[in-house]
């Protein structure tokens, strides 16, 4: 495996990952821009409109036909939050030519199609194609409204929304229905021009590739030649963006027609020591990382209170989210059991074996990064956004170094910020 990165122009980077672990080559382009209430909906709508057509390939079925001809190359795009950034992601995956029934060079085609979708959108009358914008507004509305469908994700999103109320990270990545109405083809295109000239652009190519070939293809691409160098606007993920004021724990409850309750706790970690993120990873793994964790053992196994119980560390926001699926009447009992586990962590009621297990769990997942093309790209992109570079091996070392003392010290800086509960509608029969 060989990873290289180079600047194509100011604010635009090319990253190559040479690996022969896969049957496919994966091409990705990421656009980073600060998360803002006034832009989230525009960003999400833009992502959907861009994939509808370009000046060269004017509709989705033309793009699809092209990709099918290339042995089912697949295009995908999506939108994510990474810390206080909104990230628009575009992917194109194609079989490496070594594994085709007949030799055919797909690399150039893939890079050209990917960049065409992002940088050469179909424009009419100083706006995006009206029909595409109207159609995607309707679709996006449905996507936003469908967030209630997956109760587990919904309850986690709601907890984060309450925890980061009026802050960038509390925003919903797909935006808001009430903001959709005012968007026109022209205003969306204005937003696009502004975004594409100021955002950070990162292009990744992974697979059986030659770095110099890729570099040449990208540099000679007409769409890349067109764009200006820029002082990219984005939020470096390691920087602290807001003070966390520890106040009284917020209690939030929603009611829906469910038979199972979802209990979600948002914990904030009140420290910004360098390397505290490694300690926090180990802390979270002991607390709720896997089948040996305190939450799994005590909430699920010993007390049979939940089917699922675990925690997850959000590095960019120094936050831990605990989520459990529980019987609604077990709310008090489950909450108390969770609180006991947090107290246990503070008192250092865990042993070297627990630390060892937690570290093994993290190291195993770190080592697995290379086994999936998109995970590997995501890892390197995470580094890129943090403006640091750490190899997977160095990351592993940092995890190994964490001591019990550091973990207990961190545990005492963990506060419950928000307790969120999704329950049934009271007084109604199911």
């Amino acid at each position: 495996m060989e990873y290289n990165t180079q600047e194509i122009k100011n604010g635009v980077k090319l990253h190559t990952i040479k690996t022969n672990n896969f049957k496919t080559n994966l091409y990705a382009a990421f656009i980073a821009t600060p998360l803002k209430r006034e832009n989230v909906t525009l960003d999400a709508l833009l992502t959907a409109v861009l994939r509808r057509g370009t000046n060269n390939m004017q509709s989705q079925d033309i793009i699809s036909k092209k990709l099918e001809e290339m042995y089912g190359a697949s295009f995908d795009c999506g939108i994510e939050k990474s810390g206080d950034n909104h990230i628009i992601k575009f992917y194109l995956e194609a079989i490496n030519e070594e594994f085709l029934p007949q030799k055919e060079n797909l690399t150039q085609k893939c890079i050209d199609i990917l960049l065409d979708i992002i940088l050469n959108p179909l424009v009419e009358k100083n706006g995006f194609k009206e029909e595409y914008v109207q159609g995607e507004k309707e679709n996006l509305k449905q996507i936003i409204e469908s967030k209630i469908d997956n109760k587990t994700n919904y309850s986690i999103d709601r907890c984060i929304e309450e925890m980061f109320k009026d802050k960038a990270y509390g925003l919903y990545k797909y935006g808001y229905v009430e903001d959709l109405n005012n968007i026109t083809s022209q205003s969306l295109y204005e937003h696009y021009k502004q975004l594409i000239n100021t955002c950070k652009i990162d292009i990744y190519c992974s697979g059986i590739i030659e770095e110099k070939d890729i570099k040449q293809i990208v540099e000679e691409n007409e769409n890349i030649k067109k764009i200006e160098p820029r002082q990219a606007r984005y939020v470096i993920n390691n920087e602290k963006t807001e003070e966390i004021e520890i106040q009284e724990t917020k209690m939030v409850e929603d009611q829906m027609q469910v038979s199972q309750g979802k209990l979600v706790l948002g914990l904030s970690i009140n420290t910004n020591k360098e390397n505290s993120r490694f300690t926090a990873s180990v802390y979270s793994a002991i607390l709720g990382g896997g089948a040996n964790s305190k939450l799994f053992q005590n909430v699920r196994e010993k007390e049979s209170l939940a089917y699922s119980a675990g925690s997850r560390y959000i590095r960019q926001k120094n936050t831990i989210i605990i989520a459990c699926g529980i019987e609604i009447e077990n709310y008090e009992k489950a909450l108390n059991t969770i609180k006991e586990q947090l107290e246990d962590m503070k008192k250092g009621n865990f042993d070297e074996k627990d630390i060892e297990n937690a570290k093994n769990l993290i190291i195993e997942s770190v080592k697995s990064i290379k086994e999936e093309q998109d995970t590997q790209i995501t890892y390197y992109y995470g580094q890129e956004l943090s403006d640091t570079f750490m190899t997977i091996e160095e990351y592993e070392e940092k995890i190994k170094e964490q001591s019990k003392e550091q973990i207990v010290d961190l545990a005492n800086k963990v506060e419950i910020d928000t307790i969120y509960f999704l329950r049934d509608k009271r007084g109604e029969q199911n």
Binding site: D61, K65, Y71, A94, I95, Q297, S304, Y307, N360, S368
Partner: protein
């Protein structure tokens, strides 16, 4: 060891049937850091009535036993739980139950042999007591509750209800709170002793392995068991018609969900030899009917009737076979009608040559992508083996699937009288 090979994708599989009847399949991946092993038994939720080979006794079991047994296998006599033991080694371990098989697996980059010790120990040593069986009922009850709230699962179960009157595929894999209340250690031991005999099991390994060497390691860890005869499974008689054409339920979802299906009433025994070609042909047809580049998908997407490509699948075993097209739409009825129309049109006019060839290329790519991860490879080989299929056949046979053959499949399988629809409406 028997070696099979796919020249197109440059992969090999080594297959050996051990003396005790266990089939071992090894797919070496020299470049991978990760090792993946999955051990499956041909025992799933549809196997609810059978004759024990050892005693000749006919056994009926409550719904949900295969899944319950899967949960209970991790518990050891010394009070430990094998899942915890594996996790403590930094090993990602899991298990799952499907309609036709149960599988235990783990993957890791380190401590592989420690993991193999534990896996082969716990799968070969059941430990069920009244107490531990009772406790599990609470946990599985929670899991069943989770499925009850899952609109996607309800949609699927109702589709099965439309297609089949009696078939055990209608049984919820986890059973019901009521059915699992009847499970006892005795039931679990009976099933274990029948279905967890090596002759009913397949182990698949994928990763950086040397085939001969890993085979010796597996043999070392085998607990001797008597070779058993064939397990006679008793299933209800085949039905050649659907149960009902339509079923709907209202749940809290943002937009209606649909599953449109065709029950495949062709005789499986006769089709067996061509099953891979048939599967490929059906996947081509589904893509031609409503795949991303199809005329129908374009119309539905542009008129806002559909948000994203529907899921397209063909599920089959010797006991059931059906096609499912599922997704979300404000107007499921329209989608069903449009599918009917396009199927009719294709039957009348035949398939477009250029469209057919293009989709065929796409399907080839879809199969090759499956070979990107050791986990996907191992799971695919296991589930195909349960159906007596060699997974490489999908790559090798694709070129032999002709337009004419695919047109024939269209006529035989996509019959309007075998069409059903399940809908989850908004509450």
């Amino acid at each position: 060891m028997k070696v099979i090979e796919s020249l197109n994708i440059k992969e090999k599989a080594y297959i050996e049937k051990l003396e005790n009847g266990l089939t071992v399949i090894i797919i070496p991946k020299q470049n991978s850091n990760k090792k993946y092993v999955i051990w499956g038994t041909h025992f799933g939720s549809i196997d609810n009535r059978f004759i024990m080979p050892q005693t000749g006794e006919e056994v009926f079991i409550p719904d949900g036993v295969a899944h319950f047994l899967e949960h209970k296998m991790f518990e050891q006599e010394n009070g430990t739980n094998s899942l915890d033991t594996l996790m403590a080694l930094g090993i990602d371990a899991n298990a799952y139950t499907t309609n036709d098989h149960t599988a235990y697996l783990f993957e890791c980059t380190n401590n592989f042999y420690e993991g193999l010790d534990e896996l082969m120990d716990y799968v070969q040593h059941p430990y069920f007591t009244d107490e531990n069986v009772e406790k599990e009922k609470g946990i599985i009850g929670q899991e069943i509750g989770m499925y009850d709230d899952d609109p996607g699962w309800q949609l699927y179960m109702n589709a099965m209800d439309c297609m089949y009157k009696q078939n055990p595929i209608k049984i919820d894999i986890a059973g019901t709170v009521e059915s699992i209340s009847k499970i006892t250690p005795d039931v679990l031991y009976k099933c274990y002793n029948t279905f967890y005999n090596p002759s009913n099991m397949v182990m698949v390994l994928c990763g950086n392995f040397e085939p001969e060497q890993i085979l010796q390691e597996i043999k070392k860890r085998i607990v001797p068991k008597e070779l058993q005869g064939e397990i006679k499974r008793i299933y209800p008689e085949k039905e050649n018609t659907i149960n009902k054409p339509y079923k709907e339920v209202a749940m809290e979802v943002s937009s209606p969900m649909f599953a449109i299906g065709y029950k495949d009433c062709e005789d499986f025994e006769q089709e067996k030899e061509h099953i891979v070609a048939k599967h490929i042909a059906i996947e081509i047809l589904l893509n031609m009917i409503i795949g991303k580049s199809s005329k129908l998908y374009k119309e539905l997407y542009e008129s806002g009737e559909i948000l994203s490509e529907p899921d397209l699948s063909y599920e089959f075993s010797s006991q059931y076979a059906h096609i499912l097209i599922s997704g979300q739409s404000k107007n499921p009825e329209k989608i069903q009608n449009e599918i009917k129309k396009i199927v009719e049109e294709y039957k009348q006019n035949g398939l477009d040559k250029e469209h057919f060839e293009r989709i065929k290329k796409k399907i080839y790519g879809d199969y090759v992508v499956e070979y990107n991860s050791v986990g996907d490879i191992a799971r695919m080989f296991l589930s195909d083996k349960m159906k007596q299929i060699n997974s490489f056949d999908y790559i090798e046979e694709y070129s032999s699937v002709t337009k004419e053959y695919t047109e024939e499949i269209l006529k035989n399988v996509f019959k309007e009288e075998n069409m059903i629809m399940s809908v989850v409406k908004c509450k």
